[in-house]
């Protein structure tokens, strides 16, 4: 249950005084939509100054009224109501919330506040905005909606995850924000039904410090829909059905073009040409056409909400099903969600809050986003090969290296399934000790069981393929997770003569998460058949074929927050938190984090009262520290969890013991210091809104796996670098959100929202000794393409610099060190200027995977019963590495190879193709492309059936709509999708054939009774 603050302006009661001329006495109670009494609400006889105010419980009585009088009931933040007295003597009134944006409730963690009182940088996304986008996952709806929140897709496949980054990335470890759904720590947002969301609040600055330890990467608070007291049951049904297709196919060579280029390459390499008559090859096989399908997506939701005198409730059920644009049912996601929430007043002062959610899901996947993925194969497979051979078997991809295989065979031989059952929720008791002092105790719980089963059949994809299997096997895994958070919080609030408004929060929170995982592998499946793919049918379980993992991680926190404002003009909030984490050693478990913020509502000042154009202006400043413990468990202890396996007596394995990851007893809290200055403006009669924030976020004592001397034994099997507090990263940027709400005439309403974010990411220091960390992968057997070093953003690309293409032998001769080069090959720059080129020493920083600018734009129009909305977002300033080409003599190539160098003067941009020696495939800026894009993410057109028509069938409203998601992407990037990322800071922006976001055509309806 949330603490509610109801404001009354006592001034109102002073303005009115009784007039003695009538004789009726009217009494009653004024309540809000939850049935809570509204203290200090005012009652005035219309046209007079006769009036009164409610007491603390919302009760009132007013004398000297006659039957013709109209009573005006009002309270700040609520819609004013007028009632003709008539014959009534008791008039109970429920006032509905007047949601102007300034009065909107903002969840700030352990309590709420109102937009106008807010002193931190908090973004709010409403349920309506989410629902309008019909997202399959919450993150999709957040993308581009608010400034400072960067969301990239890990994969467009059904059930594929997203990376959420709030205000940049600060570590090469875990950059995920803390996500709480109704107070429950929530790791996998895929299991949340987006249509159950009431609002999303994103704490971006140090105000997330109330979550101390876990708040360093920002906090996302999701509130689900609840019922309201004293409201009739409202039944809503919504559904949509859609067809998905790929938003992009890569232009690749057809068989004829491929044959010509292959011949050219072999001839240039002094080898016999492979195709005697390329013309006869025709267009060949379009593997992408065979792989991409039109796939269905559908969603059904049912919800009932309402409430009586003392109880409010909501019940919902939803079903979502999506098949993949690659593999259809072989890569699918199904989700069933059920939720039940209730809030009951057990007595005047005690209420009970219950939230229960169930999610069941099933996901099947194909190999994606890696070298050897289905899409990678579809791009690299030779177009001259038919999908099936003369016997009707899948064609073997011989001659195309070890990784490229027939993608159809690959899909047919993939069998896996993940089922997850999750129950989470909350039980909370709220007790009002006396007016203004409330205590709340709540237990938030989460239980998840995840089962995984995979059958790997005996299969031959061709000579030497790494995916060939000589034995069949089955993997069955069981994972159980439990976690709970037990929060106990005291809230106090008091207004002193309405000038001094005080709130205080004091609490403790204990969090525990446990997991038990069991992994089993069985070998030898009868008949090599999926129907017998079960551990119980396997012929053999070998050493190491059954493994387990378990963890028990805990946090203990004590926190306090004090808020004060003077006449809502000067606002101040301070908080402190002491956090302990089981991840640190005995001496370093606890850390103290504090933050504070100030607000100044300038429009409350006298000197602003003349400025009519500005309705509201507030300046906010905050500074504070949050902590981070997102490392593995027990990294302060040296455990024997390394790999120590050897072979004695022939071929059998002997399991020994060995030290695993190196320990560091000195690890302690990573600290995140953030400064924020912000301005909120509403102007021109509330038609325009602007929120601007500038932030500098400096992460210190970064918890990293640091490079360490080989003397420590780190290189032994199962070894890993120790975690140490080393390094500092700074993110700074400007976030601006603009909104316009207007009405052209009564029938056309316009809403426009635009936001823009700049981000500068820079490394201020890194550990001693080796002062850089190399990471990432490019091609096969090549040097790591990213380097993390002081002065560069995380994941900066580190490679060679090209200087066109050698046109002549003379030019080659003038480039010492490029011994493998011939005319037509790439000329590299001798970066270190030592007179000779070297493929290791002449690397430098050539790009960044982090967008420096991102934005989002929403436009919505309502005209009569029609509604239209469009949403676009974009990212600019980052680079993407093209790494989805295998570049073997006979693998297929993308169409840009038609612009290759063919002789002196032909081009200075694209190297020749040859099977002979060359250095053209080395990682250089040739493989780097701008990741700039703008995407029309959603357009939607709806029509609401007139209510008089609906009433005849007993319904309240019916809206039907059609929508297109991912309509079009404006980009020069050649790959499938510029807005995808592995999410690993030091390996992001390297595109190995990322699964694109599907384009979806939908029709749907929303029906309420």
């Amino acid at each position: 249950m949330k603490l509610k603050l109801y404001i009354s302006i006592a001034l109102m009661s002073l303005l009115v005084h009784p007039v003695v001329s009538q004789d009726l006495n009217i009494s009653g109670k004024i309540t809000d939509s939850n049935g809570e009494g509204l203290p200090f609400a005012s009652i005035v006889v219309k046209g007079t100054t006769n009036g009164t105010t409610c007491d603390l419980d919302g009760n009132y009585s007013i004398a000297n009224i006659n039957q013709q009088d109209v009573l005006v009931y009002s309270s700040v933040g609520f819609v004013t109501q007028e009632v003709l007295v008539g014959s009534q003597s008791i008039i109970n009134i429920t006032l509905s919330d007047d949601i102007t944006s300034l009065e909107e409730v903002v969840v700030i963690g352990y309590g709420t506040t109102k937009e106008k009182e807010l002193t931190g940088a908090v973004s709010v996304v409403k349920g309506d905005a989410i629902e309008a986008l019909n997202p399959t996952r919450v993150e999709q709806a957040l993308q581009g909606q608010t400034p400072g929140v960067d969301i990239t897709s890990q994969s467009g496949s059904p059930g594929g995850g997203f990376n959420i980054r709030i205000r940049g990335i600060s570590t090469n470890g875990d950059n995920k924000p803390l996500v709480l759904v109704d107070g429950v720590v929530y790791e996998n947002l895929g299991s949340l039904n987006p249509s159950s969301i009431e609002s999303i609040n994103i704490l971006k600055d140090a105000s997330s410090g109330i979550y101390g330890v876990r708040g360093a990467n920002g906090v996302i608070l999701i509130t689900t829909k609840k019922g309201k007291r004293n409201s009739k049951p409202e039944i809503s049904v919504s559904s949509y059905y859609g067809v998905q297709e790929t938003s992009r196919k890569l232009p690749v060579l057809n068989a004829f073009e491929y044959g010509v280029l292959a011949n050219e390459a072999f001839a240039a390499g002094n080898s016999a040409v492979p195709f005697s008559d390329p013309v006869a090859l025709g267009t060949g096989t379009d593997w992408q056409d065979l792989v991409f399908e039109k796939a269905p997506i559908q969603n059904y939701d049912f919800q009932v909400r309402g409430g009586g005198e003392s109880t409010s409730y909501s019940f919902g059920a939803g079903y979502f099903s999506q098949e993949g644009i690659v593999g259809l049912d072989k890569a699918s996601y199904d989700r069933l969600t059920v939720n039940f929430n209730s809030n009951t007043k057990l007595s005047e002062k005690l209420s009970l809050d219950l939230i229960t959610n169930y999610t069941g899901s099933e996901r099947k996947t194909l190999n994606e986003n890696s070298i050897g993925s289905v899409l990678f194969n579809a791009v690299n497979m030779a177009p001259t090969m038919a999908p099936y051979d003369a016997n009707g078997d899948f064609t073997l991809a011989n001659g195309l290296g070890s990784e490229v295989i027939n993608p159809l065979a690959q899909m047919a031989n993939t069998y896996n399934d993940t089922w997850a059952n999750r129950v989470f929720g909350r039980i909370g008791l709220n007790y009002e000790i006396f007016k203004g002092l409330t205590v709340e105790s709540s237990l938030n719980f989460d239980y998840t069981n995840e089962r995984f089963k995979e059958f790997i059949p005996i299969v031959n994809y061709g000579t030497g393929k790494v995916f060939n299997q000589v034995e069949s096997s089955v993997n069955e895994n069981q994972k159980n997770f439990w976690s709970y958070t037990w929060d106990n919080v005291l809230f106090y609030e008091k207004s002193i003569s309405s000038d001094h408004n005080i709130k205080a929060t004091l609490g403790t929170s204990s969090y525990r998460t446990r997991g038990e995982h069991l992994f089993t592998t069985g070998w030898g499946i009868p008949n090599n058949s999926v129907e017998f793919a079960d551990i119980s049918r396997a012929n053999e379980i070998r050493i190491g074929g059954a493994r387990s993992e378990q963890f028990d991680q805990r946090l203990m926190s004590y926190f306090a927050r004090a808020e004060y404002n003077y006449k809502y003009k000067y606002l101040i909030s301070v908080m402190a938190r002491r956090d302990g984490s089981s991840r640190f050693g005995p001496e370093d478990k606890f850390g103290v984090f504090a933050s504070g913020s100030l607000g100044w509502v300038m429009t409350e000042e006298d000197f602003m009262s003349n400025v009519d154009a500005i309705d509201f202006a507030k300046l906010r400043v905050s500074y504070g520290t949050t902590g981070n413990d997102k490392i593995g468990d027990f990294r302060y202890l040296s455990s024997l969890n390394g790999e120590g396996v050897y072979v004695f007596d022939g071929n059998s394995l002997s399991i020994g013991t060995a030290t695993g990851g190196l320990s560091n007893p000195l690890i302690h809290w990573e600290k995140n210091n953030q400064f924020n200055i912000g301005l909120d403006l509403e102007f021109l009669n509330g038609h325009f809104g602007l929120t601007a924030d500038y932030f500098i976020k400096t992460t210190e004592d970064l918890l990293l796996e640091v490079p360490v001397s080989g003397l420590t034994g780190v290189g032994a099997p199962g070894g890993a670098s120790p975690v140490a507090n080393a390094g500092s990263v700074r993110n700074k940027g400007l976030e601006v959100a603009l909104s316009y709400t207007g009405t052209v005439n009564d029938q056309l309403k316009i809403n426009v929202g635009y936001n823009i974010t700049t981000l500068n990411n820079n490394t201020l220091s890194l550990n001693d000794g080796v002062s850089f960390i190399d990471a990432g992968g490019f091609g096969i057997g090549q040097l790591p393409p990213t380097r993390w070093v002081v002065g560069q953003p995380l994941g900066a690309f580190y490679g060679l610099v090209t200087d066109g293409v050698f046109q002549t032998e003379e030019e080659v001769a003038a480039a010492p060190g490029q011994t493998d080069a011939s005319p037509g090959d790439i000329r590299y720059v001798d970066v270190d200027g030592d007179g000779t080129w070297n493929n290791e020493k002449d690397r430098t920083f050539i790009g960044s995977p982090i967008p420096s600018l991102s934005m989002g734009l929403t436009v919505s129009l309502d005209y009569k019963n029609f509604d239209f909305s469009a949403f676009a977002n974009g990212g600019f300033g980052n680079d993407v590495v093209r790494n989805y080409e295998r570049n073997l003599p006979l693998t297929n190539k993308t169409s840009y190879y038609t612009q290759r160098w063919t002789g002196e003067g032909s081009t200075n941009s694209f190297p020749r193709i040859t099977t002979g020696a060359n250095d053209n495939d080395l990682f250089s800026d040739f493989w780097l492309e701008s990741g700039d894009y703008v995407r029309i993410k959603n357009i939607q057109l709806g029509y609401t059936i007139p209510s008089n028509v609906m009433k005849k069938i007993g319904a309240t409203s019916l809206r039907i709509y059609t929508a297109i998601n991912n309509l079009y992407t404006f980009t020069k990037y050649q790959g499938f999708d510029p807005n995808v990322s592995s999410g690993e800071p030091l390996n992001s922006g390297i595109d190995i054939g990322y699964y694109p976001q599907a384009r979806t055509y939908q029709v749907g309806l929303n029906l309420t009774f």
Partner: protein, 485 residues
């Protein structure tokens, strides 16, 4: 209401007195390395961990071949595994990830041995010296690798080097490292049996053979000859085996095997941790690219034998066909053979260590081959003994006997030369007998003939590999690198 109030007050009382101890959690089912070695089994388990690092020496073997005049790097293209290509061309620098792997993996093994010695006195049990003897051998083996690659190296012994302690180490002179190697091997030889119950365990003969090799590398010819001749004595039971099956499964751990690194194909592996593979990674990497046919299996086409090596074989040498695969001849002789040519293709492959058809190689077939690495063969012992006797001016006729024993198996005639000519004959015999087995580069270096035989080899520089710059930096940047890097 009273009850509710009491409940609330109770909860509050509980919550606000909640204590810091809540976050004191012990690991579940994890063994703390500080509280181990409580039984013989613990020592035995830790010893298996120390053996494990032997499997990562596949890299040392292939680098020695590639660096020498025996093989070219090969692979898919000129930039396939850049670090190997550079070593092949003697263009390697202080930044070379594979040399760093050698450094890290060998110290990984040393650290595991030192862990055992750190707790050597904790628990007593019968046969402990035999455990320690094996451990001492392993440490000597790993240090020998390091001293061959890098010369003077930091030498932590008898205690793990924990994170934060590494900066105290400078480079210990090569002579002192050798002294430690000798000490460990003498201890091992004194405490190990001639025959071990389990195949693959270190024996007395293995310890003596490695000791003899260490003496020979230091040109201590008399002690080398003595210790090597001890194990040539029939009481140790070694003999030359049939060369035709020596490198096939049936030849594993046979009569000629003095010390073998054991591999298995029963567990999958990944490219992100090649040192974790239980299989011999060298084999798949040396295999024929795109091979499809009756005898062999596909590989990555590295470690390509040179024509120069092939030319070293005398006519009629029975070892040739088992050492060198002529792929064109093979394709002609066998119908349906397909293969593709990789980088630096010579038409030859290392027939001792390439994948063969029918091998199980679970997981990724290229990195889980079960072929044991014949680290020290009896033929090697004979040739080392011959060399020590000859170069030490001790006994040329005995040297001839050992040399000719090896030649006889190869169906070659006796050598009757003495003095320097005999030395040359022994060198020649080492090259062909041990071709493709990872000895050539160090042999060339120790006899001072590397510059004459390896293209681009710079005398005074390339005898040693550079200590990886990152490792120098991580030791505090105070130690110097090898000459001319």
């Amino acid at each position: 209401m009273k009850t509710a109030k009491n409940i609330i007050i109770g909860i509050l009382a509980l919550a606000f007195t909640a204590c810091d101890d809540y976050v004191n959690v012990d690991p579940i089912a994890e063994i703390n390395s500080e509280s181990y070695f409580n039984s013989e089994a613990d020592y035995q388990q830790a010893l298996i961990g120390a053996y494990d690092a032997l499997q990562s020496t596949y890299l040392n073997v292939i680098l020695s071949e590639i660096a020498s005049d025996n093989s070219l790097c090969g692979g898919e293209n000129a930039n396939d595994v850049t670090s190997w290509q550079e070593i092949d061309d003697m263009e390697h620098t202080v930044v070379n990830s594979e040399l760093r792997n050698v450094w890290k993996w060998m110290y990984g093994g040393i650290n595991r041995v030192n862990y055992i010695f750190e707790f050597r006195d904790k628990t007593e049990f019968e046969g402990k010296d035999e455990v320690l003897g094996q451990a001492a051998f392993l440490r000597a083996y790993y240090y020998f690798e390091l001293v061959k690659f890098f010369g003077d190296v930091p030498m932590p012994i008898d205690k793990r080097t924990q994170f934060g302690e590494e900066s105290g180490f400078g480079r210990t002179p090569k002579s002192e490292v050798y002294a430690q190697i000798e000490k460990d091997l003498i201890f091992a030889a004194d405490n190990l049996p001639i025959v071990q119950a389990e195949l693959g365990r270190v024996t007395k003969g293995a310890a003596k053979a490695l000791l003899g090799k260490a003496y020979l590398y230091q040109e201590k010819f008399q002690p080398a000859a003595t210790v090597l001749q001890e194990i040539i004595d029939p009481s140790y039971g070694y003999d030359l085996a049939d060369f035709g099956t020596l490198f096939l499964p049936e030849g594993e751990n046979g009569i000629e095997s003095v010390f073998e690194v054991q591999y298995s194909d029963q567990e999958g592996a990944g490219f992100d941790c090649l040192q974790c593979s239980e299989g011999n990674v060298l084999v798949g990497f040396s295999g024929i690219r795109g091979y499809n046919g009756p005898v062999y299996a596909d590989g990555f086409g590295f470690n390509i034998p040179t024509q120069g090596l092939v030319d070293q074989f005398e006519t009629g040498d029975a070892r040739f066909e088992h050492t060198i695969l002529d792929i064109e001849a093979h394709a002609t002789a066998n119908a349906g053979v397909e293969y593709s040519e990789g980088w630096e293709h010579t038409g030859y492959f290392n027939n001792k260590y390439i994948p063969r058809k029918g091998e199980q190689s679970i997981g990724d077939t290229h990195i889980t081959n079960n072929r044991n690495y014949r680290s020290i063969r009896f033929a090697d012992v004979l040739l080392m003994a011959a060399e020590a006797l000859n170069r030490g001016g001790i006994d040329d006729s005995q040297a001839q006997i050992y040399l000719n024993r090896v030649r006889e198996r190869a169906d070659l005639g006796n050598v009757n030369a003495t003095g320097a000519a005999l030395t040359e004959a022994i060198y020649h015999e080492r090259r062909v007998e041990l071709a493709g087995e990872g000895h050539r580069f160090y042999d060339l270096v120790r006899i001072g003939m590397a510059a004459d035989n390896i293209p681009n080899f710079v005398a005074g520089k390339h005898e040693l590999f550079p200590i990886p710059q990152e490792e120098i930096d991580l030791l505090g940047g105070t130690i110097s690198n090898n000459n001319n890097y």
